[in-house]
Amino acid sequence: MIPLSLLIMSLLLSCGGGILCLLLKRREGDIRLGGSGVGIAAALAGLGAGLTAIGAGQPAVLDAAGPYPFAHFVLRLDPLAGLMIAVISLLSLVAWIYGFAYVREYAGRGVGAMGFFMNAFIASMMLVVAADNAFWFLIFFEMMSLASYFLVIFDQDDEAVGAGFLYFLVAHGGSVLIMAAFFLMANQAGGFDFAAFRAHPLPAPLDSVAFLLAFIGFGAKAGMIPLHIWLPRAHPAAPSHASALMSGVMIKIGVFGIVKVGIDLLAASAGPAMLGWGLLVLAFGAVSSVLGVVYALAEHDIKKLLAYHSVENIGIILLGVGTGMIGMALHQPVLAVLGLMAGLYHLLNHAVFKGLLFLGAGSVIFRMHSKDMEEMGGLARNMPWTALSFLVGALAISAIPPLNGFVSEWYTYQALFAAALDGTPLVAFAAPIAAVLLALTGALAVMCFVKAYGIMFAGAPRSHHAEEAREAPAAMVAGMAVLAVACVALGLLAPLVAPVMGRIAAATIGAAPVTLAVGATLLPGDAQQATLSTPLIAILLIAMAFLPIGLKAAFAAKRGGDRKAAAPWAAGYLPDHHMPATAGSFAQPIRMFFAPLYTLRRAIAGRWTGITLGFERVVTLARRTEPLADRSVIAPIVGVVDAGGKRLQAIQGGDFRIYCLYIVAALIALLALAV
């Protein structure tokens, strides 16, 4: 019961924090201090809840009657929910530390309201993953969408409001589909409890319908292509610590939903159909990962670039989840655990490094007051800690060994390899293709993050602001440092983390655990297939580095002192600041080689613009019809009431004695009626 009580404590703290932020109103210094303090406490309690839930053998269940007779309020903390709560808590912990300094950027623009929505957002995310009843799940899902909507439109400019509207539309379209999927299952189960869903499997064609509905609904939330269009607009519009939460955690709720429905709720009913679901998830994952990073490469706005990378990483997570589902369908528990484990590990890793990168971008924007990378440059000199953290995040998201991103991608490759080796012909055909697309994604991600880091932090400053920038405040650096250390730790300590992820995956699937690590060596269930040791790679990299450094030092006495003077070579011309590579020129070859994919993006965006325009037309029509209703219905009623009131004024003489008389008269009349 420890996990549940810690969770409830965390939720109560979040509620308290939210109310506190509203009550303090204009005292913004107190809001920052109090809000962050309570938020950090809530996050720590949540972290405890998540970790104990992962460690506990049995899921902890809280079943309360609640106000509605048809839906019990059920919270269930199984290892999967525990993982999600731990990830949410870790990111919210960092967001609160970071926010303490960062919200000064929003001074005088409703810091209290921001604190309230942040608290509501975090609490509702925790409730979504813990809820074990479809009705309450949907309620909290809506709460989460609403709270994040208010964070998206916080800036109140046209861009933010437009992005918010699109986000609102997609989020609610998605929840309608999820609702439909749940209703199908509830119809069969005769109740809204997830336990009943599990006990009463859907018959054959209906289960695929339910899965498809839920997949599209949750996929829209996760931002997979082609339902991603809201993501690169909404995430950058929110304040950076909220973007870190949205990109790091909220879109993972979409993945969580797909896992919940496909692997947990519908597992019993899924027969041969599950193979098709797994392949579908795999296909969407592969397409999302490649297109996400291709589109990211063309961006100049650092937050948009990062948002597109979220699309990419959701794709990579879906590759793992899809392989897990294929493993379940083929009754190969090792493959199922390996695939799902790879997906969940990448989910955790992406939360950490994407949170880090958004916070790093936030720190730069905090000093630069611009999101345009072309105006940055050379920031590593003045913002060394931010630069170092961002570099760690960039290396991690590019899956560079021995950091965390590499470990989960390695497991994804191994899962795909195992699937290709033992699968049916269709799987043997699909899995290697997915692996190649993952390799393409990896190479493009390296390019994209060399560009992002290089254009922002390396070389010469491109603007006056970049020259004058100072290091971010201590609280913001501390927030980033926590996540940078987590990136390194989740990579180097992979032999400890991977078995935990494997246990979570095995518990979710209901299979026996798989050996994923022996000593400091990682292996995908079978040491013959492959081995990896991130600690060893790290030690060797450090040890081998002494060779070049020593070589350089050995000859130091023989040569003149190092000099930092010569201007870069510019083919004989005088170098000027227009010459170095820009964000645009750096990615230009890729834009040229992948031109058809960019045309595709315009096509998808055009379709969405069409839908949005349609909605806007409806809104305009509603605006035009509203006054009509006003004139014909509301206005006459108001007129009649008004006139009646005027007439009644006559009996208001203003004399105290007349009023007494009225009372006596009323009493007599009532008595007469009673008799």
Binding site: L440, A443, L540, K552, R559, D562, P589
Partner: protein, 312 residues
């Protein structure tokens, strides 16, 4: 499992390759000179170059940062670590946890990351474009590498490079045609990775693709030159270890290793001589036409995959 003697073997072969790398690049220069009917430098010229550069002053552009300073060391270190994991003298990988095909591809990405980043960090326009092109080549080549190695790995049932090599040497592969085509497409990808004509000229610093070298001087340039020579040797050793493991030692024994060393040296010399002939008989391909060429690699690797699926 990784034992102490395996580890020492890995360290030995990495240092051996480091010592021999300038010799290999010297060989390339000699072959070129012969084919150009020039007198050319001696076989040991690259050792002399490196020794001279190590005693020269290190000049850095005023706007460069720590990425620029770190790059030579990072690159040499990474390639050395990769060299420990690739089977060269033996069939098995000396340090098995590194000798995984995915790990090796991504370790090369680490070197590529810093190599290109230093290009932007130098503040020079040439270097920046060079970095961009280097990464673009990575994008075009890495999928080909992965698919051809993946097919070979599927045939062997393991992604460990030594296991793939052993399976090929023993003839335990289900489809010989698929193996041969995979070897050809991997060789093609490796050739692009070598940075030779028609796609690149590793020695010519004024070529855009090696742009990141433009701003380096003194000991930093010496380290990069050495690292690039080592990288070329390691990349070829990678191909040899997986697809041409013949002659290497199946077990750890002194004479086995000695024989493996001789066989490895002969294979290396033959391949670099062949590469020398190819690179000197073609003209430079325009950069924007490179994808049309790399599609050949993708096509060949896909063909190998199809043959694997059919099981021919």
């Amino acid at each position: 499992m990784l034992t102490f003697s395996h580890f020492i073997l890995g360290l030995f072969q990495a240092l051996l390759l480091l010592a021999a790398a300038p010799l290999v690049s010297g060989l390339s220069r000699m072959v070129r000179a012969k084919l150009h009917t020039r007198h050319g430098p001696g076989l040991l010229q690259d050792y002399r170059d490196i020794a001279k550069l190590l005693t020269r002053q290190d000049l850095t552009p005023p706007n460069s940062g720590f990425a620029f300073r770190l790059m030579p060391a990072v690159m040499l270190t990474t390639v050395l670590v990769i060299a420990m994991g690739i089977p060269m003298l033996t069939r098995f990988t000396p340090v098995a946890p590194i000798g995984d095909l995915i790990t090796v591809i991504y370790l090369f990405a680490l070197a590529r990351f810093f190599f290109s980043l230093s290009g932007i960090d130098s503040g020079s326009s040439f270097s920046g474009i060079g970095g961009s092109r280097e990464l673009t080549m990575g994008v075009l080549v890495e999928p080909v590498m992965l698919l051809s190695l993946f097919v070979a790995a599927l045939l062997a049932g393991s992604t460990n490079l030594g296991a793939i090599g052993t399976a090929i040497a023993d003839g335990h592969v289900r489809s010989a045609t698929a193996t041969v085509i995979a070897a050809l497409s991997f060789a093609y990808a490796i050739y692009i990775e070598l940075g030779k004509l028609p796609y690149d000229m590793a020695e010519a610093e004024q070529e855009l693709q090696e742009g990141p070298l433009t701003e380096y001087s003194g000991p930093s340039l010496a380290l990069i030159k050495w690292a690039m020579a080592l990288k070329q040797t390691v990349v070829v050793a990678w191909f040899v270890g997986v697809f041409l493991p013949f002659g290497s030692a199946p077990e750890m024994s002194f004479f086995g290793l000695l024989f493996g060393l001789v066989a490895f040296a002969i294979k290396l010399v033959l391949i670099f001589a062949a590469v020398g002939v190819v690179e000197n008989s073609v003209a430079r391909v325009r950069f924007r036409l490179t994808p049309q060429h790399s599609w050949i690699g993708v096509g060949a690797a896909s063909l190998a995959f199809v043959f694997y699926l059919v099981g021919l």
